[in-house]
Amino acid sequence: MNCPSHSMLLPEVVRVLHAARTDEVVVTTMGSAREWMLRGTHPLDFIYAPSAMGEAPALGLGLAIAQPRRRIVVCNGDGCMLMNLGSLVTIAAQAPPNLVLLIFENGVYEVTGAQPTAATQAPQQSPVNFATLARGAGFATVFEFDDLQEWEQQVSQVLSMPGPVLAVLKVAPVPEGGVPHSPAPPASRATALKQALGEG
């Protein structure tokens, strides 16, 4: 398996994001949802579990368009991103200035047992470059991080720059990283988010 470089640990990357978060709506999915839930709850959290795999960026786009005065941060996995690469084009076309899309790239489907994605299965294959894909789709602001200290230094900038912003975070798969479970009935959490946004 030809995994991308793994110099950061997912729980640490999530810890840094959690510490930098102020009043953003944060949508998490898969491994990031599991790790985010360990750090408590916030009215503007949306744990996208259960999910339609691949659709978190689209959900975040809708939120960003409907809530233009709020920042929306979507935490996506690389397997999820591969499932809906077209959403990069959709987002770039809409160009929401308040949307930040983070891709946690570990090269595997972590929650199902760390099987390689199509992007990393072949030893002779170069890992897919999500930053290049994003630029090609029309994202003007793209970051890549494989060093925790750099992520820590720049996370506030990533969260505050005019969007759409995309950042690729190269992380190691979490051993035994399991499936995130909905922390409450999903429909009640959807209602709660709508209310927290002042729309319920």
Binding site: P50, A52, L59, G62, I65, T90, A187, L197
Partner: protein, 168 residues
């Protein structure tokens, strides 16, 4: 079936804020009315605003985000896109209970002899997903759109209006 201007008039009565769409050859004739001009023109200031997606499953998730954020979205796709939509529709409508609403082009419905599988499976798929739907197969039934939207929104349930099409 009806003109883009007639449709947009209905959508404004329904106070639809955004149309999330991927057109087919019938829905595509409404492009100019929905976008407020020719392709490439600046978006119109008056709604509904058009959001173009790359595949139909995406449309349900965009609409879900819009709805959670307080907008009044409507999805507009062909029935073949409904087939693509399955998991995203299931998640938004049945996991999160969002009363999303869609106009879906019913390919080949008006062709009595058509053996198009898209025609065969459209209604069974909607029934399988437990989506309350109505059929507009003549222009005079356009008011069904507003009526069904109001009914489903008041009930807090998802809804679909199928628009009969004759072309493949």
């Amino acid at each position: 079936m009806f003109s883009g201007d007639e449709l947009v008039g209905e959508l404004r009565k329904m106070q639809i804020s955004h149309v999330v769409w991927l057109p087919d050859s019938t829905l595509g004739t409404w492009e100019q009315a929905l976008s407020g001009g020719s392709p490439g023109d600046a978006p119109k200031s008056e709604g509904p605003h058009l959001i173009r997606v790359c595949r139909e499953a995406e449309a349900w998730a965009v609409a879900a985000g819009l709805y959670l954020g307080g907008a009044r979205p409507l999805i507009m796709i062909q029935c073949t896109g409904l087939f693509d939509s399955g998991d995203s529709l299931r998640n938004a409508v049945h996991d999160y209970g969002l009363p999303l609403f869609a106009i879906i082009g019913y390919r080949s419905y008006l062709l009595a002899a058509a053996t198009d599988s898209a025609k065969t499976y459209t209604e069974p798929v909607l029934q399988a997903w437990n989506i309350d739907y109505r059929l507009i197969d003549t222009p005079d039934k356009l008011p069904l759109l507003h009526e069904h939207y109001q009914q489903t929104q008041q009930a807090g349930q998802a809804g679909v209006v199928l628009v009969a099409e004759g072309r493949m």
